[in-house]
Amino acid sequence: MTVRTGKPFGGWLIWTLALAIAAAVWLWGEALVPFAFDYPKGWRIPAARWIGSFVNWLVKDAAVGPVAFSDLTRFVAAVIDKPYQLALALLADGWQVAEGGAARQVVPPLAWLAVIGIVALAGLWAGGPGLAALMAAAFAFVAVFGQWHSAMVTLASILVAVPVGVAGGLMLGVLSWRHPWFESLLRPLLDLMQTMPVFAYLVPILILFGFGPTAAVVATLIYAMPPMTRVTTLSLQRLPGETHDLARMVGCTPRQTLWRVLVPSAREPLMVGVNQVIMLSLNMVIIASMIGAGGLGFDVLTALRRLDFGAGLEAGLAIVALAIALDRLSQAVARRGYRAPLPGGIVARHPYLTAALALILLCFVLGLALPAVQGYPEAAQLSTSAFWAAAVEWINVTFFDTLEAVKNTILLWILVPVKRFLVGMPWAVAVALLGLAGWRLGGWRLAVLVAGLSFLIAATGQWEKAMITVYLCGISTLIALAIGIPLGIAVAGRERAWMVTRTVIDTLQTLPSFVYLMPVVMLFRVGDFTAMIAVVAYAVVAVIRYTVLGLQGVDPRLIEAGRAMGCTDWQLLTRIRLRLALPEILLGLNQTIMFALSMLVITALVGTRDLGQDVYIALTKANPGNGLVAGLAIAFIAIIADRLLAAAARAQRQRLGLEAA
């Protein structure tokens, strides 16, 4: 990393020169170097064909010794299916026997009152009466809006996906902590798992794992496991040396050191990983429902096909309620720590478990006599469909012309020019500038990586779509920053405002974007503008969260010092607080870009023409090669942005003296 010794002045010079050359090539180079503008078809790498045939081989012919690869995956699917069927029977369907076509229920599932009681007990155990009330309220909300059965189907698959995801993530994390070579192999794979749109690998997964809830669980795992793996490795690396010394002193074997000392010491950061697995699993609910998982995701899709926004919103909010309940519960479990066991017999030692079992039994017996105890009575269900339909209609009729004018202005003055600029830029110039940025920020290795990946996008013939992707996500990211940073600054110091904001952004993050996408289509028509709104709504969450995190983490002594020196509030903010929070804000920017890219598949559904659309078309034409190549291009864009930003953040930290050079 000795490259970064150039003085700021030298940096400016290099950039001015580079941009001048780039502009010259762009303006006058078309006749001289036509291949720099349109990547010649003859030079294309037929990656789609190669990947397509590899996938075909993998699902049809690949074998480990005498066992076909697909048999192996089918076995895994069968193993996952067993606990899923159990959870499903317990929560949603009960145990049934087939009786000449009509299935007859022999044992009913847990009564809704019993489930609410159990989650409240879990809340009481982990976090006290407040949490118990929250848990009960979230589940009661689901029941009141008539989402009970679907929500329990969704919950069943979450209950299977989360433990498997946590265990798998932990294993991989420990392995990459133990063996650095494993980590360097795993890291790019994790990047791909997180940034590749699920639609891109859906078809191979369906063939390998069978159509149904298990394939949905596998797809969920691929998407939700990486954060757990990263957090595990990171938190094990960060453990202080004393912990290792302690383990050695008391004579632990390596295995005991790991499981009895290290993992328990890293418990709190590990729970952050668990929390992410839960949240991301719930994010996958919609896509999982497309491949046979059913549940709330299916309700959202069906409601929106009927344009029943209210029903879609209710199902979406039920997902949010589950997410918030599970999130708060897992955080409370992390904070609870270890407590000495209670004395006494089995019943006295496990008061919560005993109470839960008693409750189940009581509800079962009561449920036989009173159906309202077993299933939530239909007459008491609420529906807000009519209200939402009327609300959307009112806004549509009253404000459409105003909104249309605003939209047209933004479209004509910002979106269209930026799109033309990016699509018109010669690919070779863009690759060269990216390489230069990589070299300036992180040395030649970064330069090679960044230029290489962007070259691959051009070489597989996806440059134009990739530029449309960059344009859509870039503008959305900027708008998200313009909204999120001021908002983050405004709420960072105010406890109350932050509480409210947090609830709102949690909701935005877990509410399926489909739910608000269709009303937005009604107001803004299909096209880039609607897509942009959807991306901004989702990505702004990351900006706000990390800005607040950064500002709250600023050392109060430094602010005091600034005040003592007579800084005004504005100076305090711009010279001290924002500067010190910059690394977190940059991390937030990185996450914003990731979020924006992950929305591409959704925006394809409102008629954009980017890489997300390619992925979607490939899915509909059952062409895994094309889908994976487009998915890889999206992942490459994400990796380029991530690496450049990480390098910039490191440089910034070094300049501020927060990290050794």
Binding site: E99, G101, F211, G212, M290, G292, G294, V521, L619, T620
Partner: protein
Amino acid sequence: MRLVPISLAAMLAASATLAQESTDPIKLTLHDWTGQLITTQIMGEVLKKAGYNVEYVQADYLAQFAGLETGDLHVAMEIWETTGREAMDAATATGNVEVLGPTGMQAKEEWWYPSYMKEKCPGLPNWEALKDPACAEAFSTAETAPKGRYLGGPVTWGGFDEERIEALDLPFEVIHAGTDAALFAELESAYQRQAPVLLWIYAPHWAPAKYEGEWVEFPTYTPECYTDPAWGSNPDMAYDCGKPFGEIWKVGWSGLKDKWPGAYKAVGAFTVDNAEMGAMITEVDLNGKTVEAVVADWMAANEPRWSAWIAK
């Protein structure tokens, strides 16, 4: 432990009625539109009457082919010629999926406009009215003006609308909706404001029942129109006509006929027509009945019909 005798008895009873057919559940796929839910549940209920064990699986329209090929799923009741042909051909080419015949319903797809647009474009529904610049302008937006805006289906549906516009020399621009839901969201929005809209609508669907409007009448489709440029009003280009009507197919896993021969026959015999289906979709989507109730009504009213499908 009391479970065991019950389930054994149940299995014995089931196998007696089925005469040696498998008691494994037959898996029928459910998608996210009402017509398909009705078709599938009618089939499912009929199979149940014949003593089969039936399971409904919620699946994506296109992703389901992966499941049909491996035999994880068994029957898909509605594959539209117009939107699912390629995926269906790719699946049948593997030899693991089989087309089980037409459902009897015909998919109608065409350009559609609400009735109030006739004031601005008096020549409609004749397609030549669209050639009038004033009429095209009435359908325009800021992005497309002075050309008219035609909202096409998702790119994946195909439909050759760009070609049609060129061949018939219409002053229109195609904007593609990304999904079916987005398509109808735009229609709902425009209809509430009585604003201009011209878009791709298909039937059987609830939209033609809910909104008052008409299909544009293009020159009638013939296969030559799509293949032979000389055909039709434009001697140099194909696609100078309307869209074809398409069958809606039933598709199944090829193992079906060996594992459940009776069910295979019943699925093959299933037919309903457009009018019947349109009425049922309206009952559900506009009158608020549940799919189950509508299916039960149909079963009660059509007993001789479905009995014939499952007759030995």
